[in-house]
Symmetry: C2
Subunit: 150 residues, 2 copies
């Protein structure tokens, strides 16, 4: 079982931005793409979705860039994943993919399991997952990146 | 988020066999492959794993075939998925894939979420998911298949 690449990238963007509030220069798409080795075209789509959800703000222009637009302690990871994962089911239950559909009890069971997963992820906020060692690592990554540019 | 194709096929095999106890002819790999439109080479690998787990028995020869080797009410779906999904994590956290590893708090959070998912799936047994409409559908599928052969 794997998160979609879309969610995976989305979480990294949020984690990265959660610890960028104190630096002078804004974070750019190019910076995140370079730091996590993510293709820019993928990243642009994810950033667009995060902005539509109201979690980040993207401004254009010379001093433009990406900023977190919510308090990290108020953003639940389950809520983020529900949005980024979308409506996809855990198994391909479409009529063509499986003859058991629409009579399948497993389908409802898997939906229960998914709800339990999201509920467990709701016990973590963006602040929780960017504390301690993760936060320090992010700050270090950002410092090293800016040194390279200087 | 998607189950692996391996697990998806594994669940279908177990569901199919759970309702085949009353028919005279044993179920074959070819039958399941045909019923669910699964490539035989994929199916053989999954069947091998289900047999190694002790959940099904595969016998060779003229009257050989596949049979369930556990009571459906004793087989928890969470346990099945833990085995079939294996050790894979929800995100690709390997050192090469993500620079946050090994400092990443999200990694542990996702592992918590996965445990919650499996615990929720443990509330369902193979008997539960092959009852009612699913069971009736399977029995109908098997009856129709045998009619075609006759």
């Amino acid at each position: 079982m794997r998160l979609t690449r879309f969610s995976d990238i989305g979480l990294r963007v949020l984690i990265y931005l959660a610890r960028s509030g104190e630096r002078p220069a804004p974070v750019t798409v190019a910076e995140i793409a370079s730091q996590f080795d993510i293709p820019v075209n993928h990243l642009v789509k994810v950033v667009g979705q995060l902005a539509r959800c109201g979690w980040i703000q993207a401004t254009r222009g010379r001093n433009g860039g990406l900023r977190l637009h919510v308090a990290p302690a108020s953003l639940k990871i389950g809520a983020v994943l529900r949005q980024l994962e979308g409506e996809a089911e855990l198994a391909d239950c479409s009529g063509q993919a499986c003859r058991l559909s629409p009579d399948c009890i497993l389908r409802g069971a898997l939906a229960d399991g998914l709800r339990a997963f999201y509920a467990a992820m709701d016990r973590y906020t963006l602040a929780d997952i960017t504390a301690g060692s993760t936060g320090e690592k992010i700050v270090r990554m950002q410092r090293d990146f800016m040194k390279q540019l200087a």
